[in-house]
Point group: C2
Chain length 127, copies 2
DNA sequence: CTGTATCCTATGAGATACTG
DNA sequence: CAGTATCTCATAGGATACAG
């Protein structure tokens, strides 16, 4: 039998969901997949992320022990980021989502098209 | 070599991330793991989800072809929801996140405590 | 180069009341 | 029972300007 209430029983699961549940976290982790990168490198890899969001996401990841920040005191400052071992444990999960998207996202798009074809008078906001 | 820009090259990946990137979607899918459920049953399983959010999430999932909605025209109305085959393909992914949270979430909590212990004068907003 | 600080808007999400 | 509609607030996130 399963627990009747996933909201209480699976608390850590929900906390884990919070880590992934924002626009940039997964992307930043993914950008660090290959190893240490500098701030600017990460930024150029994700391109349309703003400074604010990159800094904020990096801070959260550092706070959560998923990323480590290393400052080299030179001028101009050089800051490098890398996944911690803990952060790396998320990689298989992210790769799995990536595989899922390659394999199935077209189906989601099709479903959406079909849905909007039927409901076009009610909601057509889907570029 | 990898693509230089995950924002453009991995578009479907980002779209897939949008599916998981909200507070309730994963939980609702998870609540349907065992099979068909009625609206009220799902609601009681997730407990602290509001009617609005449950309805909205269910609609999105239906639109994306991940969940199917079946209405039995009786009074009072009976509405059943179930994962589609496509929706079920997300299950392994969600289970993996659940396993990750069981295995590693304590480490995240510890990291946070340590972080706040060092930065307590700057930010202490962490229950 | 690596950030901070501020302003602003859109969206997420809860509360409440109402309906077939 | 299974929603819809509306109000409201908090947060996410983008733009821009500034700083060490």
């Amino acid at each position: 039998m399963r627990e009747p209430d996933i909201s209480i029983a699976e608390c850590s699961y929900r906390r884990a969901l919070e880590i992934v549940s924002n626009k940039w976290t997964a992307l930043v982790i993914y950008a660090l997949e290959d190893g240490t990168s500098r701030y600017g490198t990460i930024k150029s890899r994700i391109a349309d992320i703003s400074q604010k969001m990159l800094t904020q996401t990096l801070k959260q990841l550092e706070r959560d022990g998923l990323v480590v920040r290393k400052v080299t005191p030179v001028v101009p400052p050089a800051v490098e980021y890398a996944l911690t071992p803990l952060g790396m444990t998320l990689l298989p999960f992210l790769r799995m989502l990536k595989e899922w998207s390659s394999a199935h996202y077209a189906s989601v798009s099709e479903a959406r098209e079909a849905y909007y074809a039927e409901h076009q008078d009610q909601d057509a906001s889907h570029g």
